[in-house]
Amino acid sequence: MLEKLQLVSMAQALASHSSSRLQLIAGNIANADTPGYQAKDLLEFNVDFASVGDQPLRQTRSGHIPSGPEFDESKIVASAFTTPNGNSVSIDIEMAKAVQAREAHTMALSIYQSASSIIRVSLGRG
């Protein structure tokens, strides 16, 4: 029932996007010295309301759970510099992106928490 609320499904999608983004960032930092490695990142989290709409996604069987907005296109970041061995990872930029992902994740979890506490209040369980 919580999934029908668009706010909650958006928060879930943002939390999932943040953890996927953090995985790419961790891969970039781990390969910061690998020759020829290009830094990767996810496209920005952007829910297209026209496609999500009010109707849930069509299910082919009744047991399937409709999923929220999808995003798994990772892109190669066009970096401003490459070291002589072809590596394009900048640790400072990656750390800044990691902080962004962390804050987005925290915000998504807070939204989810406040939505569920509102529902709890409305159920009379404060």
Binding site: A15, S16, S18, S19, S20, L22, Q23, L24, I25, A26, G27, N28, I29, A30, N31, A32, D33, T34, P35, Y37, K40, I91, E94, M95, A98, R102, H105, T106, L109, Y112, Q113, S116, S117
Partner: protein, 126 residues
């Protein structure tokens, strides 16, 4: 949740690669005065599809050995020179600094992933 667990293994592989890099740096420094010693270079290679890194081949630096003038040394030739090593302490110390910085960045990613999964579990407690 699977992403967060993947991040832990990616960051752990990064830390392991950087510490093996530091091990080779310390081997080079320890043998800075060994005659005929060529410094070891280690290259990283991306392994797996999640961005994990592993230490690749160890190769020897092809630079010229330093020619040291010491007629009293048993290895000296008729001009009084013998071949030392091609280890430059400044380069090794800079390499060690960089390995430490990358190690700490990987450790930060590990910690961040751990905290994010912790806050996910905290949702259940409320």
């Amino acid at each position: 949740m699977g992403d967060l667990a993947k991040i832990l293994s990616v960051s752990a592989s990064g830390m392991q690669a950087q510490s093996s890099r530091l091990r080779h740096v310390s081997e080079n420094i320890a043998n800075a005065d060994t005659p005929g010693f060529r410094r070891k270079l280690i290259s990283f290679v991306e392994s797996g599809d999640g961005g994990e890194v592993s230490a690749g081949r160890v190769s020897l630096d092809r630079r010229e050995l330093q020619s040291i003038y010491d007629p009293g040394n048993p290895l000296a030739d008729e001009t009084g020179h013998y071949d030392g090593s091609n280890v430059d302490l400044v380069i090794e110390i800079a390499d060690a600094r960089e390995a430490q910085r990358s190690y700490e960045a990987n450790l930060k990613m590990f910690d961040q992933a751990r905290q994010m999964s912790q806050s996910l579990f905290d949702l259940l407690r409320k």
